[in-house]
């Protein structure tokens, strides 16, 4: 493409079309531009347009297109063609800086971005004059230009803040420092002087302060990796000026906007960051300046208002104090009682106040409010910063700080008492203060785990929290209600049980509150209380203690779901789930109504599933209803199927992806409740479950495997007779799963069920292929997980089909295969098997190989007999682990381990652990002893001589123990 007017014209046309709202016009134009962007001069044409086009819209469009072009093409990737020709690269680098600087702001920003993308690749080696070119502009006196340079420099240097140190990086920084540090310092000084000469010129000040902000940011970047010699030498200049800027105020720079931070705030906020950087990293060198900064920042805090626009500044400033006051050698700066009092009074208390913005969020954006308040996503808020400062101060001054605050808490409570409807915010602050003072460590699961012993939590609870909750009007002072409920929730481990029991009906009552925050907190608090553990690991609150409240609890919970704004409230649904789990059979009378409400909800949300947690707990609740009811009355399974299958069919037909894994799990649970042969309604579904499209979604795999396992357990013979043509498809699923390192264990689950339950003749023709497939995986990509599953499987096979069958099928695949697997896999790897049942299966399988497989006694495999026995004894004598107690009630959804999509596995649809050798063998050690005894009777003397010549002494000792326990002796 030549740099001709004609081409400029063409390009203009196409650029214009890319702005067209009609995709029929826009898309081809975009395609065209893409097709020509490889041509020489294309970027130069764009640069010409963005500079000279008559139409502003084209200028802007060209600048954006140019930046995107640079983003896509500038980097030279090894082994790929260079996408921009060298002469264009040179021309771009030669022109872009002046062009950027002379452009209006909108375009300047695009070009500045482009420069930093180019800089990332070429600077410094391939763009040596960039720095000088930039620095020279500092002298121009034109702050539009200077700010352009500073902005570009900032985008080039900010990566110094997050990259790891390396010779390459530091070489670059050194180069930048050599060229840039002094001019930047001079510019900083000159700009500050200009600020005082133009102290009365608002528009000049704005430009100058924008420069100062950028300069302060550059300071941060250049000082991040290490303290550069230059800045150490010039610390006085920088810090003195930073310090005076912190204390500076100018009416002309104050903004009316309450939300958006002004230039002054942004600058001071960056200076706080800079001071914090020095205080943390270069403490030794910064020490002389630190006290001044502490004072300045603290004064700043005392004089800064409550408006939202100051939030960032205030939280940065408080965080600075919080980080300094924890350091032992600055302790003295805070030690004085007056200082402490003043920090508490003027910095902490005001920033804990409930502000208009909080009130707004409480009412209108409750979801966000809850997230911030309950889940701790409040990192940048003032309250949080103040809280951190309290904790920081408590490190050295817990006593005095607690003392000071107790005074405040009392006076605030008195204020409230004088006129609650006007002064309720005082009480809110008092509660917040007590909470932040008392809590030293906290988890979602247990609430506060370590509390300040100087605060009497129970007394405060009885005197100031309970009265609010006992008030007859649940809708009065909703913020205080929420505070009170939150108090119960987080101090649930500190407040005595009798007080908690008194609180339960109060919480149930507050489920009816109109305020979303209040009824959500009530539900959450109940859920947390129900999850507490008492002695001997049972629930702390018992079902018996809850008996008087069952009906009202369930009624209010489901009613809360009908309150405006809470129709898919996950906290309420979780509380429903937890209540079911706690109350167990006492919910049975209410099940008909409950299940109707749940299925209606399910139907409603399946139209557009949007709240994954809510949905999850809803399915958990359904599972609990089924389990609890069917435990008492197995026949009831039919009525659940009746209630649920319609909705389930709809979900499967509409392919509601989020719900399908749940549906499979509920169906598995229902199917397992059937005691007899598999109902035909299920069998009709069977072929559909083998559809590849279902298996392509990873989230479906565990529940589908589970469901197929249920089919195999209940209906193996039906499948063998009525759906024999589907067996290859079933094994195809196994093959698909086994090929994936992530899913191979699922494949084994399926295979184990097939081997265990399918009639042998129905899978006879496939058996060899199954093993070949497994051997292939073993050979090509073996992992520990695979080996563990493989070992369990072959031993299960051995248990089911006999050791001889195992040996024969191995050796039919390849001569001596059996010996190779024994020697290379079973013997060295068997100790990796974990899990009680898994180990037991392996023990019984290996015992069979040792004692029921003639080739082990009289072929060349005999040499493996002792090593195998030794490995088995090793397996026995390893310490047992990985036992997971059956305490589903306490399982939190967030910490269910294992499966792919964290939300897909339902804890209450859980499968009971199944022990395929359970009936056959009780104690595998004894079983080994008895089997050996049997073997020795068959060939007297052989076993004993093998043992005495080759088994190591320790193993022999163990073995003798087993023989004794089984009261047998070897012949």
């Amino acid at each position: 493409m030549e740099l001709s007017d004609a081409n400029l014209q063409t390009l203009t046309e196409y650029l214009k079309k890319t702005l067209d709202p009609d995709p029929a016009i826009r898309r081809p134009a975009e395609k065209f531009l893409e097709s020509v962007e490889g041509s020489q001069n294309y970027p130069l044409l764009l640069l010409t347009l963005l500079e000279k086009s008559q139409e502003n819209v084209i200028k802007v469009c060209a600048s954006v297109t140019f930046k995107n072009y640079i983003k896509r093409n500038w980097r030279i990737v090894e082994d790929e063609p260079n996408k921009i020709c060298e002469s264009d690269r040179i021309a771009i680098k030669a022109n872009i800086v002046p062009l950027m600087l002379s452009s209006p702001e909108q375009i300047q920003k695009q070009l500045s971005d482009a420069i930093s993308i180019i800089g990332r690749e070429d600077f410094p080696q391939k763009w040596p004059d960039l720095l000088t070119e930039m620095v020279n502009r500092f002298q121009s006196g034109d702050f539009h230009v200077i700010n352009g340079v500073l902005r570009t420099a900032h985008s080039l240097f900010k990566r110094y803040r997050h990259e790891f140190k390396s010779n390459e990086l530091w070489t670059e920084i050194k180069l930048v420092l050599d060229a840039f540090a002094l001019p930047l310092t001079n510019l900083f000084k000159a700009t500050i002087e200009l600020c005082s000469t133009h102290a009365n010129d608002a528009s000049a000040l704005k430009v100058l302060f924008s420069s100062l902000i950028l300069i302060a940011k550059l300071f941060y970047s250049l000082n991040f990796q290490d303290l550069p010699e230059f800045f150490e030498d010039n610390m006085e200049t920088w810090m003195t000026n930073f310090h005076s800027l912190l204390t500076l105020d100018n009416k002309l720079l104050q903004t009316d906007d309450e939300e958006e931070a002004g230039l002054l705030e942004l600058l001071k906020s960056q200076i706080c960051d800079n001071a914090a950087l020095y205080a943390q990293k270069y403490d030794e060198e910064f020490q002389p300046y630190l006290p001044r900064f502490v004072t300045a920042i603290w004064n700043l805090l005392v004089t800064t208002g409550q408006e939202v626009k100051y939030d960032l500044l205030v939280s940065n400033a408080i965080q600075f104090l919080a980080s300094v006051c924890e350091r032992p050698h600055y302790k003295h700066l805070f030690e004085d009682q007056n200082t402490l009092t003043s920090i508490c009074e003027k910095v902490i208390v005001p920033n804990m106040e409930f502000r208009a913005a909080d009130e707004e969020a409480f009412e209108d954006n409750s979801e966000e409010y809850i997230r911030r308040d309950l889940e701790g996503s409040d990192i940048d808020t003032r309250r949080r910063a103040a809280c951190d400062l309290v904790r920081g101060l408590c490190k050295f001054f817990e006593g005095p700080v607690t003392g000071i605050f107790s005074g405040y808490v009392n006076s605030m409570l008195q204020e409230y008492a004088k006129n609650p409807s006007v002064n309720w915010k005082h009480k809110d602050a008092a509660i917040y203060l007590v909470t932040s003072l008392a809590s030293k460590a906290q988890t979602q699961k247990h609430g506060i785990t370590q509390a300040n012993e100087l605060v009497n939590l129970t007394e405060f609870f009885v005197n100031h929290i309970q009265p609010d909750l006992k008030s007859a009007t649940v809708n009065e002072f909703p913020v205080l209600k929420a505070d009170g409920i939150k108090y119960i929730m987080i101090f649930r481990n500190q407040v005595p049980k009798e007080q908690l029991l008194v609180s339960i009906p109060l919480l149930i009552n507050h489920l009816q509150a109109e305020s979303i925050v209040v009824h959500t907190y009530a539900a959450h608090a109940l859920e947390r209380l129900f999850t507490m553990r008492g002695t001997n690991n049972a629930t702390f609150i018992t079902a018996a203690e809850m008996a008087p409240f069952v009906e009202v609890l369930l009624t209010n919970l489901f009613k809360a779901l009908t309150l405006p704004g809470s129709s898919e409230n996950e906290y309420i649904m979780k509380a429903i789930m937890r209540s079911f789990s706690l109350l167990q059979e006492s919910i049975i009378p209410y099940i008909p109504s409950v299940i109707t409400q749940l299925t209606q909800k399910l139907l409603a949300v399946s139209k557009n599933p949007s709240k994954p947690h809510f949905n999850h707990y809803m399915f958990e609740s359904i599972c609990l209803s089924i389990r609890i009811t069917c435990k008492a009355n197995p026949e009831a399974v039919g009525s659940f199927e009746e209630a649920l299958f319609l909705v389930f069919t709809e979900i499967l037909q509409n392919d509601v992806q989020e719900f399908i894994p749940y549906v499979f799990q509920v169906m598995s649970l229902l199917l397992e409740m059937h005691k007899n042969e598999i109902p035909s309604s299920y069998m009709a579904l069977f072929p559909h479950l083998l559809q590849p499209v279902l298996w392509e979604r990873t989230g479906n795999i565990p529940p589908l495997v589970r469901l197929l396992q249920a089919f195999l357990e209940r209906g193996a013979s039906t499948i063998a007779s009525a759906a024999a043509d589907k067996i290859p498809g079933l094994l195809g699923v196994f093959q698909k799963l086994i090929a994936s390192k992530a899913n191979d264990h699922q494949g084994f689950y399926l295979l184990n069920s097939i081997i265990e339950h399918m009639p042998p003749e129905s899978v006879d023709q496939y058996r060899k292929q199954i093993f070949i497939l497994l051997f292939q995986r073993l050979q090509n990509s073996k992992t520990t997980k695979f080996i563990k599953s493989f070992l369990v499987f072959i031993n299960l096979y051995c248990v089911r089909y006999g050791a001889l069958a195992l040996q024969e099928i191995f050796d039919s695949i390849q001569p001596k295969m059996f010996g190779m697997v024994l020697e290379k896999i079973i013997i060295p790897e068997i100790q990796k098997v974990s899990g009680q049942v898994e180990k037991k299966i392996c023990a019984v399988g290996i015992t069979k190989i040792l004692t029921e497989c003639p080739p082990m006694m009289d072929t060349e495999y005999t040499k493996l007999w002792i090593p195998l026995l030794q490995a088995l004894i090793g397996l026995f004598e390893l310490p047992e682990d990985d036992t997971i107690p059956d305490e589903e009630h306490f399982i939190d959804i967030e910490d269910t381990p294992g499966y792919q999509t964290a939300f897909s596995q339902l804890a209450f649809a859980g499968k009971k652990e199944h022990d395929p050798v359970g009936q056959m063998v009780n104690n595998p050690r004894i079983h080994l002893a008895q089997s050996l005894h049997k073997l020795s009777t068959a060939c007297p003397g052989r076993v004993r001589s093998m043992l005495s010549t080759s088994l190591n002494a320790e193993a022999l000792q163990y073995l003798q123990g087993y023989l004794q326990a089984a009261s047998v002796t070897l012949l």
Binding site: H162, W170, K174, D233, T443, A739, M820, E894
Partner: protein
């Protein structure tokens, strides 16, 4: 991503040991706690005691212009020559900003070197030696001017001068030349500087002189890439060992520095030092109340423990673990830092050595540094923990957690140092590996949450540094949010369902 957690496990012990490979690029000022490389002789008063200038009345200073200096030097009048050299020396000895460049540009360096050979004129030799010493004390450029003027052989022969003050000045000049770097250091060694220099060490040598000799010897041991020739080191070592027993603290300090240089290199060199049996003495000196002695002693021993397992064991046997607690609590952050660095390298050893760290009661001190130390020291303490959790047994890791390491360690996740953040994250992965073995993953999760670690890790998901972000994410996904899934998808369909078929291959496991 799961490779992350095995990363450290795959590293062999030597990779965990971190030598003093500081980046070759430094942004910082050269630190005051380093031994000085080159020194200028500016003590104007001492000349009054010098017999060689005794006949000159000190106050009657005759000023020559630079042109006059050149003229006088190149002339034949020995008096004027002396005066000119003396003037040049005075200019070079003035307190501030000596005009070394100007003097070099006069082109008089070779002439002054020539004067070094004037054995008949000791005052001239001395003044020239002094002036050249000060020229050589400048930049590399300056030192080069002196060397290229032919000063090396000239100064070496002056080591045998009958006049002690000339010998001493020459030692000083040679120290400056050696301090320039490996090139001139080796040039000096090649010119056989060592035997005459060592000959100067005797019980009769005055302390002041001996200090100079020791300093010059230390410079001959200094600099890497390459390190000094082995045979030279072997010659110097016996003398250094004697000097290390001296009662003068400056002599001991410079000898320690020499040992710190000799140990700052590959394991073979460390072995040379270990073989001399000097470690107990170096460890003893780590107890010294003198900062100038303790600093280089700590350096030297710190370097030794970067070596092999056996070398580290030698340092442990010499008692290094007993002295570290005090140093970890030292008021100077640099000392804390060096001590923690040394400990981090011991923690990189096998679990028996880690056990000795525990037995010697060092864990509380590590926790203290992590909690209250200066960031420099905290960073090293993080390495202690990281290495400990990599090489330690499960029981040892439990011991570490019992010592209270978690809280301060997690606090440092907010440090403004990216590498440290990453190391902490990797350490957390190590802890989880241990917890998994104990079946206490959930307990560790809760503990991390309680100590605000979970929140800090969550925040790191927004970190600009890709590696940090990914490591944080993988910990969260693995232990806090449930497992993430890597999918290797194979297989084709057939008749709507998956086909089940395989081709047999030969197996060999």
């Amino acid at each position: 991503q799961h490779m992350m957690k095995f990363k450290n496990k795959g590293k062999d012990a030597t990779a965990l040991r971190r030598q003093r490979v500081e980046l070759s690029i430094q942004l910082r000022k050269v630190k005051k706690d380093e031994q000085i490389l080159k020194r200028r002789n500016i003590s104007v008063h001492s000349e009054e005691e010098n017999p060689s200038v005794g006949q000159n009345r000190p106050n009657e200073i005759i000023q020559l212009s630079l042109e006059e200096i050149v003229e006088a030097l190149n002339g034949n009048n020995t008096k004027l020559q002396l005066l000119a050299v003396q003037t040049a020396r005075r200019i070079l000895s003035r307190h501030k900003d000596p005009p070394i460049n100007q003097i070099i540009e006069l082109g008089i360096i070779p002439r002054m070197v020539e004067f070094l050979g004037h054995a008949d004129n000791a005052p001239l030799q001395f003044e020239a030696a002094w002036a050249l010493t000060n020229v050589a004390s400048g930049t590399s450029e300056h030192t080069r001017a002196v060397v290229e003027g032919g000063a090396i052989p000239a100064f070496i022969s002056l080591l045998s001068s009958p006049h002690m003050h000339i010998r001493e000045q020459s030692v000083w000049a040679l120290g400056n030349i050696a301090g320039d770097g490996p090139l001139y250091r080796d040039a000096l060694i090649a010119c056989d500087v060592i035997p005459p220099l060592l000959a100067l060490v005797s019980p009769a040598t005055p302390v002041g002189f001996l200090r100079n000799v020791t300093w010059t010897l230390s410079n001959l041991c200094r600099s890497k890439n390459p390190c000094p020739p082995l045979d030279a080191v072997q010659k110097i070592l016996p003398v250094l060992i004697c000097l290390l027993q001296h009662e003068d603290k400056d002599i001991v300090s410079d000898s320690c520095w020499a040992f710190s240089y000799l140990t700052d290199g590959c394991n073979d060199r460390i072995q040379v030092v270990v073989d001399t049996g000097i470690l107990p003495r170096l460890v003893e000196l780590m107890h010294s109340p003198e900062l100038t002695v303790m600093t280089p002693a700590l350096r030297a021993v710190g370097n030794v423990v970067t070596g092999t397992e056996q070398q580290t064991q030698a340092a442990i046997d010499a008692g290094v673990l007993a002295v570290l607690p005090r140093l970890l609590r030292h008021t100077k952050p640099v000392i804390q830092k060096e001590a923690a660095w040394a400990l981090s390298n011991i923690a990189a050893g096998p679990c028996q050595q880690i056990q000795q760290i525990i037995t010697c009661g060092l864990l509380p001190f590590v926790v203290e540094v992590l909690d209250k130390g200066d960031l420099k020291a905290q960073k090293e303490a993080v390495w202690v923990v990281a290495n400990f959790t990599t090489g330690g047994t499960v029981d040892q890791v439990v011991e570490l957690i019992r010592a209270g390491v978690l809280k301060p360690l997690l606090n440092l996740l907010s440090a403004k140092d990216n590498k440290t953040i990453l190391i902490i994250l990797e350490t957390i992965s190590n802890l989880f590996l241990a917890a998994e073995k104990l079946g206490q993953t959930e307990k560790l999760c809760l503990l991390l949450e309680k100590l605000d670690g979970l929140e800090k890790i969550e925040v790191l998901q927004n970190h600009e540094n890709n590696m940090i972000y990914r490591t944080a994410l993988s910990i969260l996904e693995k232990y806090f949010f449930g497992e993430e899934n890597t999918d290797l998808d194979p297989q084709t369909d057939q008749d709507g369902l998956y086909g089940f078929s395989v081709e047999k291959q030969d197996f060999n496991f």
